[in-house]
Each structure stands twice: as structure tokens, then as C-alpha cells.
């Protein structure tokens, strides 16, 4: 087992897939995933395809969901992301979504999730911080550091939302054509 550290953001899924598929060609097969940490087993070099799905599922629904992936190896759930791999084949079975409606629906779920987790961030920045006495926000108070962290997350969140919204719109456009 070897471990690699690497950072990919939600909108870099294609880059992440490419990285994993290149490693499979060198014989490194993804077995586990934690925050920024990928664990691989060493096997024969092979052509694999990786696919990621975003789902928020209850335990019961998850079982029902995973039953459909009999052709795939389910690697790991990481947050709302489900990681799958399988040997690449020449037919039309290398994707877990094969129409634009279901592709756009996945991005819609991500947008919903981002809206939910984003709400407290924006609430903090728009309502809480401006109404605070300025000395509480001064260095080295707790709120000084909290504000920096919140602003960093907010920028990342904004970036993710815009990127993902753009992808969503591109699929939406394909549907109406």
C-alpha cells in the first residue's frame, strides 16, 4: 500500500480522474480515500476508469443505490462523494451517467448541498461580523482568527459554486437543444 497526498477541489473531478487513471497505468489502484490522502495498492499496470457520484443517501437508500453498481467496484464514500472504478472496456459502459438529464441532476444536487453549507458562512460575513464591536474583531481575539477562516472558506465556496453552476448550465443547455 502506498499513500499519496494531493488536493483536488470539487470542480476538478476530470483532473482527478485523469490522475487516478494515469496511476493505474503504472499499476497503482485506488483502495481508500481520506481528506487529501489517497491510498493505492500495487498491482499489474492496467486500464481503469474512475467515476465519482455525488449523493446524500440514508443507509437504506445507499444499499439500494449500490446494488445498481454491480459492474463497478465501489471504493469508498468520501463526504457526499462515491468513488467507483472498473476496468476500461471498449463498449459504452465506462460512465455512471449517460444522459445529460442525469448529469445535470448530479450538479443540481451539489448546488443544493453548497447552498446548505454556504448559508452559515454568508450569514456570518453579512450579518454577524459587521454588527460586532470592532475591538472584538481585533488581533489577537478569537473572532479575528474566525473571521479569517470564514472568509477563506467563503472564497472557496464562492469559487466552487460558480464553477459548478457553470457546469450545470452547460448540461442544462444541452438538454434544451
Amino acid at each position: 500500500m502506498i499513500t499519496k497526498r494531493k488536493v483536488f477541489f470539487a470542480w476538478q473531478a476530470d483532473k482527478e480522474k485523469q490522475w487516478l487513471e494515469d496511476l493505474a497505468k503504472q499499476g497503482y489502484v485506488l483502495e481508500d480515500i481520506k481528506l487529501f490522502t489517497y491510498t493505492f495498492s500495487k498491482q499489474e499496470p492496467q486500464d481503469l476508469v474512475y467515476q465519482f457520484d455525488f449523493q446524500i443517501l440514508s443507509k437504506a437508500n445507499e444499499a439500494e443505490y449500490l446494488e445498481l453498481f454491480e459492474d463497478w467496484t465501489f471504493i469508498k464514500r468520501f463526504g457526499g462523494w462515491y468513488y467507483f472504478r472498473k476496468p476500461k472496456d471498449s463498449t459504452n459502459t465506462n460512465e455512471i451517467y449517460n444522459d445529460n438529464i442525469s448529469k445535470s441532476a448530479m450538479f443540481k444536487r451539489i448546488i443544493g448541498f453548497l447552498a446548505l453549507v454556504g448559508f452559515p458562512l454568508y450569514y456570518q460575513v453579512i450579518f454577524v461580523f459587521p454588527n460586532m464591536e470592532s475591538n472584538r474583531l481585533a488581533y489577537p481575539n478569537f473572532y479575528f482568527f474566525l473571521r479569517i477562516i470564514v472568509v477563506i472558506f467563503l472564497v472557496l465556496h464562492l469559487l466552487a459554486s460558480l464553477r459548478i453552476f457553470a457546469v450545470y448550465l452547460s448540461y442544462k443547455k444541452k438538454i434544451s437543444e
Binding site: 445498481l68 459492474d71 459502459t93 455512471i96 449517460n98 444522459d99
Partner: protein
């Protein structure tokens, strides 16, 4: 019922073939295989696409869980409902009309 037709018609290719397969109860992965067989391998329902379509058809009560043997039920099976059958019939007539209208069209 009209509301379901209004909302779901025209059916996606995936939903159409799911309804067609579920005239008899089947578990999810069985649908993938059945549709492949029916279309001689032309149409492969991707697992994620199938899951979304099953959720959607369940939401509109066009299909339901079929619990024939609850105790021994390892995999969930689905089956078409009455509304699902009506939707499927509506869709078949619609498609037949389209083909009829295109008769006499010179494909050259």
C-alpha cells in the same frame, strides 16, 4: 394522471425502457441486463442514470417496490403501477403516431 403525463412525457429513453422492463418485477441491476437484452446491447443504462430515473418514477408513483417475499428479500425489486402503465401506454401511442406521420418520408 394527466399531471403525470404532462410532467413526464416525452419520457427519456432510460425511463421508457425502465417502465417497459418493469411489467414484471425486477431488481435494479436486472433492469440494466433486461434493457441490454431487449435492445441487443444498443442501450446500456448507466448505474447513476438508472438510479436517478428510478427515484423520479417512484416519486410520481409510476413504479413501486414489490415486496413479494419480505423475509427473504435481499435485493429490492420494483414493479410498474397502474399510473405507470397508463403513462407507458400513452407514450407508446405517441411514438406510434410519430412513426405513422413519418411513413412515406423518403429516408434518402
Amino acid at each position: 394522471m394527466d399531471k403525470i403525463i404532462e410532467r413526464l412525457s416525452p419520457l427519456t429513453e432510460a425511463s421508457f425502457y425502465i417502465l417497459l422492463s418493469l411489467r414484471k418485477p425486477m431488481h435494479g441491476y436486472g433492469i440494466i441486463k433486461a434493457v441490454e437484452e431487449m435492445t441487443n446491447g444498443r442501450l446500456h443504462l448507466a448505474a447513476g442514470t438508472l438510479y436517478g430515473a428510478l427515484q423520479n418514477l417512484q416519486k410520481y408513483e409510476c413504479i413501486e417496490l414489490y415486496s413479494f417475499d419480505k423475509a427473504n428479500k435481499k435485493k429490492k425489486e420494483y414493479v410498474i403501477t397502474d399510473s405507470g402503465t397508463k403513462l407507458l401506454n400513452y407514450e407508446i401511442v405517441r411514438l406510434e403516431n410519430m412513426i405513422r406521420h413519418a411513413k412515406g418520408y423518403d429516408m434518402k
